[in-house]
Each structure stands twice: as C-alpha cells, then as structure tokens.
Symmetry: C2
Subunit: 457 residues, 2 copies
C-alpha cells in the first residue's frame, strides 16, 4: 500500500506521464477496476492509469519502480482467478486506450493489434479481410488481446488451432525493469535467441506488461456444421470424440454437457429439450471447411458406438439453438447462487472416471453441494462448478484439485493461477519448477513490482 | 579450460556417475565430438560423457558446476553454426545413449521420446502408429529430437504445421543449476505458470540440457502431390506461392530454386533438366491430404500468373525426382569448395528485391564470389551460400546480414546463432532484448556453465 502522504506526488507524477485526465482517483470511478466480475476478488488502488502508447507504459513502470509502488496490469477485467484486480493497493495500469488494430497483412496472414483491442474487434478485423483469428471464447466482446496473451487464453477452437501462444508471432511489452522489448516483424522463422513472446504468454502480468502483439490469422471457412450427440455414458462420449478427431481433420470444437445441466438450462431459458427423451451425456461437435462438411460429419457420426441420438445442423439459426444447450450453462448455474468455479484438464484416459468420481467426493465433503460438470472434452478441459457451498470454501478446492493432481491433470486449464489458486500451485509444479519461475521473475522484474500477488506463492 | 592437474579427478568423478566406459578421453575417439560436420568449428574437450538417464545428467551438471567446468550438450552434431562442439575445453555431454521412444499414445496423438532419439526414429514410430511427426529436415537420420528442440528446428513442412516449438507439449530437462524440471503429462491446456518448454526450445543448450520431450503428432496422409513450377521471375514465384497458400489448405512445402542452382545440380548428378527449356526460377510445392489432392493442386496451379511451365507428380518415384532438383543443392554447391552458409528470413514483401540485390552486393565486396540462393520461399527462409571466398571471411556475413537487418529480416531462420553469428546478434536484437536474455541465462544457469560460447555475445 502506498503511504497516504505519497499519494499526491505519485498521482501528480503519473499525470505528468499520461495527462491528469487519464489518472482516475475518484472512488466511484475506480470501483469497476478494483473488483473482478465474479465479485469474489476485490481490493483498492490509489490510481487507475490509462496510457496511450508503449512509451507512457514504460515511463509508468520506471516511475513505480523508483517509488517502490506495485502495478496490476488490466485488460477487459474478465478474468476468473483474481489476476487482474488490485488486491493490496497496487496502481492499476489499464490498457483500454491502446486498442488500435493495424490493417490486416493478407499476404502474411497476420495482424498487429494493441493490447487493449478486444478479442471480438480482432476477430472482426480478420473477418473483414477474408481470414479469421482462430481463438474464440465467451467473453470475446470484453476480453482484450493483452489479457488473452497474459493468460494464454484457450477457448472453444483450441483442438484445431491451439491456444493464444500458438497464434503469437511477435510481441511488444514493457518488462518489470522498465525496458521495452519489441519483435513485431512477423517472421515465422526467427531463431535468434530466447522466445520472449512464448515466455510472456501465460505469465499473468508478472514479467511484463504486453502492449501489442503480432498475431497469426487462419483461413475463414464459410461452411460450418454442428452436431449434438447423445451418448449413454461419458465413456462412450470420450471414445466417440477420439474417433471423430481422427476422422474429421476440420473438427473445431467438442464440448460435453450432462443431462442435469441441460435440464437446468432448459428450465432457466424455457428451451425445448434437445431430443424426445433425455440422455445421460451430450457432446456438441462442430466442423468447418471450405466446402460443405455436413456429409463428412454425418458419415463419421454414423460410425460411432454407444450413440443414442443425434441432431445435425448446418444453418446458422439451428446451429445457434444447439450451442445454447452448452453456452447457457454458466448463466443457468449462476441462478443457483455464486458458484465455486474450478477449471481443470484431465488426461483423456482418466476423463470418464474423473467425471464420475468428482461429484461423489464433493458430496462426501459437503453433502449440501451440487457439482456441475461441462467443458471442452476434446482437450480434456472440464469446468467444475459447485453450488450449495460458500464460494470461498477452500475445502472444495482441496477435494477437487487434490484429485486432479492425483490423476495427472492440471489445476488450471485456461483460467490461470491468479490469486485464487496460487496456494495450490505446488500440486502441479515441483519445487524445482517453482524455483525456476521465481528466478525468471527476478530476472525480468527485479523489484517484484508487477502483479506481486498472483501466480507465485 | 580445465587445469591439467584437475583432469584426472574430474574424469574419475564423471566415471563414478556414468561408468568409466561412458567417459571418452581417448584423443582419437573424442575427435568426432570435437568438430562439427561443416568442419568449420572445432575445439577440444577433456572428456565426452554419455549418460543413460536424467539423474546421471543432473549429477554431471552438479559436479561440473561445483568444479567450475563448462558443458556443451551434444545431440547428433549436425548443427551448422558451431553451437554443439567444445570450443574452449568444455566437457561434452552426449545424449546419444538416451534414445528411447515410448509407445505412441494414439488417443492423445502424442509420443514421448528421449533427447537422443533421431528425428527419423521419432517419425518412424509415429508412422507405425498411423500418425506422423510433422517436423522434417534433411539431417533426419542423424539429427536428434534434443538438438531439434535446442535449435527449434523448422524444416520443410513448417508452413503447414509450424516448427519444433509448436509440437512441444512437454519437456524434461536439467537446468544449469542442476535441478531437474519435468512436465510430461501431455496436457494441451495447462496454464499453471511460465511455459518452460517454449523457453528451452531454441535456447541452444544455454539454459538447460533437454533429456526428453512429449511431442504432438498429426494425421498421416497417404495421398501426396508434388509440383515443380517454372516462373519468369522471383516476383511471379513469390506471388504465386501466396496464391497457392490461400487456395490449398493442405500445402506442406513451397521451396524455391534458381536456374543456376538447377543447372549445377543437373551437372553434378547427371540429371535431365526439369523442362524442355530452362526458366529463371522454379518453385517446388507439395500438398498432402486424406483424399487425392492432385485435382485441387492442378486447379490452383492453373490460376497462376507468370507461370511458364509445370510438372505435376503424385507417384513416389516421380515425386522423388522432382525433389532432387531442390535437395541436391547442398551437395552440388559443396563440390565447389566449402561454402559460406547463411540462413535468413526475409519478409514476404521484400523477398524478390532481396534475392535480386544480394548477389550484386556480395560481388561488389568479393568479385570472385558466387552466390547461391535457395530455400523455403513459403516462410521467407532463404539459404544464402557463397562460394569462391574463404569460409571464414566475416565480411560476407557483414554484407549479407547487414542487408537482412535493413529489410527487417532475421539473421538466423532455423540454424540458430551458435558461435558463428553471435557477434551479429545486435543486428536483430535490441540491447533491451539481449539484456533480458542475459538475465534469463543467469536465472537458470547461475554460474554460466552451459554452452558458454554460443548465442550471447
């Protein structure tokens, strides 16, 4: 926390860098930057600073380093693990004003965007140029590219295109020492030392503040087919997805939901059930291609074992209806009270057992709890939502994440560690790995002023 | 250099770790480890150590760190920039004995291999399981996966699948501090801190010794079509490749060669010229698909402007004949004496101008020189070979790499920096970037014992 008497001079100095109009100190105006959207994580900041270019960001870091004031970089503030809000009086550096997107380089199939550009804006720019940016996720209209990079955002199309790190051709950032690093030439073959973009991607604002990125774009497909598959068991669903991944090169999404979740969604949004009779497990798959992929999808689906029913759609209206059974889960579960959100990855061969085991373990710990499971079955990423318990009941984390570690999974698939999970990092990372991370942190942020309360215990 | 009186005790201590039979001190037996295959880079080592597992590698690093003895990790020793041979009395740690490849995980489409496994062995294992490892390059039979990772090997299929870094799901390595880091669970979504595999990939043995890796495998396509395209100019060739990359999603390779190079290859290997009459520029493209891609290739090629002639082949025999015009370049140029090898990436929009300009600039500097240009046009990676000058004439580097930097290119596309180019690193990397690399080096290799003579000036 900044001592009160230092407030004035710090705010004035920040104003000298970005202009006083871009230093927010009013309590009311600050509030939205001080609390995350789950409203679980919040704190306070002496000032929210809104720079307009990389040199201003560097000047802010140099000033805060000299004044020994910590910084929390903030993008769209859509994170779920408390990684982007000031928890202990840090200065918030908001990248909102740095949202420019350069004209798309169609020949190179790349685009340069500033950190504050939203994911939706980058995707729209790519689309307008006849291409696409292959990372997509629900918070697309608010989440920023800078935040996506800081958390290595994954999303719904990862099984075909990889996550944010795989799209990152170049980066511009201000390191914790105040130095600007920039490699934005967009060269896909460039072996001239350590790959800073990959290191900064997923570092949760603890090594540097990302100010711009050079992103890979991919082919935009105009033909898209979506199928909702009803299975008798999770085992059959997991096996079916493995078959489809091999059979359909153009498979972009494979999402799993369970009967209870679909019933809840239907009740909350007054939707018709997807099929005449309910089924234990549903998988939503989508493929996209330059030509019509519907025939390929139908043929591949026909070969599946344990499939009880199927609905195939290639018109956008019907496709959107099928997606609602998956995408409305978060809102539907939210109507039961603030859920306890966990986001884990389970090895494919452990997935079915895990999904059967976790609700039992949670109920044993908290008999009043309900466990909701859904997510990206194609890459083993399951969202575990628990209702009927206090959101801050860390016993739930212990039960779920402990078991995740036992089966060789990841305690954070795509949300990151933030402040919510750092006390559990040891479940996934050895002492040697955590020591290596600490050493890298000291190397690039020698005074530890960047996001000091996240990631590393 | 190890003081002579320390030799005996060091060798004995190394023998205690790996067994004396695996510590090579005989001058004759050492020679192959002390010189690289270009024979341009060589030195001497007191001992070549051949560990059989990661714990032995860790013990070697701990011992050498305590004794203040430097280490050069070595794989297949096929590097071209002097990054893998002892230049100043370092101990050579050869990973040759660690060449195991686990059974392919078909469901996850991944394989775990030890660092000493050759690229060809990994590709064969993937093939036997009905999949493929998508990185491929000429040295496949000797180059090891560990070496591929240390240099982030690119190769001929990078335009479709990316380089080695994009295939690296997990890694096991011994850091310069002697600690073992391991994350081999093969989870594709795992956001729990800094991504050490991406950092170690391309670090040229300066941060850690890679001992094993978890690698992504891709679909094996049985249908393959290769076309040799004759163009009137490099401009037309570059434009044509851009068209084909958009038109053919399954394009795996796009290689450029020039008339002079093809004539030399034909003369050296007594081959018939590819076409009835010579053409200024040739591009070899290849596509692979689950179904027959020949029709797609032929249709796409028909739409090209400035195309003078074309040969399309989808039988393996004829395809191999077309590839020889490209792949025999290295051997054919070698018959003119040891060439000066440079390996650069040029932005697409600068490529044609660069290929016209470089021979002129080289001749201006060295009138006796001949400049040979060929390479991976699809990603802008051009191999610049200069004959008729001393291989160690650094003036050639200055002329070529200086111009590469002027046009925003990379001074090392896929060979790395090694010892050959470290004095030119400043052309591509800012002081801030080099400082950051040095800080990371100190963080993971505090005593600077790993490959101290490569990469960082």
């Amino acid at each position: 926390m900044v001592p009160a008497d230092a407030f004035g001079s710090l705010v004035a100095a920040l104003g000298d860098i970005v202009g006083s109009a871009n230093v927010i100190t009013d309590a009311e105006a600050r509030r939205g930057y001080e609390i995350d959207w789950t409203s679980r994580f919040h704190g306070s900041t002496p000032a929210v600073v809104r720079p307009s270019n990389v040199n201003e960001v560097a000047a802010i870091v140099v000033l805060c380093r000299r004044e020994r004031v910590s910084i929390v970089p903030q993008g769209g503030n859509t994170g779920l693990v408390g990684g982007g809000v000031p928890l202990a009086g840090e200065v918030v550096v908001s990248l909102q004003r740095m949202s420019a997107i350069d004209p798309v380089d169609v020949a190179a199939r790349q685009v340069t965007a500033q950190a504050g550009a939203t994911l939706a804006a980058v995707r729209a720019a790519a689309n307008a140029a006849g291409l696409t940016y292959p990372v997509d996720l629900g918070a697309r209209d608010t989440a920023t590219i800078g935040g996506n990079i800081a958390t290595n955002a994954g999303g719904i199309n990862l099984i075909r295109y990889g996550g944010t790190r795989e799209q990152l051709v170049g980066i511009e950032a201000v390191l914790g020492n105040g130095e600007i690093v920039r490699r934005m030439s967009g060269l896909v073959k460039d072996n001239t030392g350590y790959h800073l973009p990959s290191l900064l991607c997923g570092s949760e604002g603890t090594l540097g503040i990302v100010t711009a990125a050079r992103l890979r774009l991919t082919t935009r497909y105009d033909h898209r087919v979506t199928a909702l598959l009803a299975f008798a068991s999770v085992e059959a669903a997991v096996a079916g997805v493995a078959v489809l991944r091999t059979a359909i090169d153009t498979l972009e999404a494979a999402e799993i939901v369970l009967d209870a979740g679909v019933r809840l969604v239907c009740a909350c949004f007054d939707l018709r059930p997807p099929f005449a009779r309910p089924h234990p497990v549903y998988v939503l798959v989508e493929a996209a291609d330059a030509t019509d992929p519907t025939a390929e999808m139908s043929a591949a689906v026909a070969s599946l074992e344990g499939l009880e029913d199927v609905a195939v759609a290639d018109d956008d209206g019907r496709r959107a209806q099928l997606w609602r059974y998956r995408e409305e889960h978060t809102l539907a579960i939210g109507t039961l009270g603030q859920p306890h959100k966990l986001d884990v990855t389970i090895p494919q061969h452990e997935l079915a057992t895990f999904m059967g085991e976790i609700p039992t373990r949670v109920s044993r710990y908290a008999p009043t709890a309900s466990t909701w499971l859904f997510g990206h079955v194609g890459d083993g990423n399951i969202h575990v939502n628990v209702t009927g318990v206090e959101p801050d009941d860390d016993g739930i984390d212990e039960v779920v994440l402990g078991h995740v570690a036992e089966v060789g999974g990841s305690i954070s698939a795509e949300h990151g560690i933030g402040t919510a999970k750092k006390r559990w990092l040891h479940l996934n990372r050895s002492r040697a790995e955590i020591d290596a991370m600490r050493a890298i942190k000291r190397a690039l942020d020698p005074d530890g002023i960047l996001n000091p309360n996240v990631l590393l215990p």
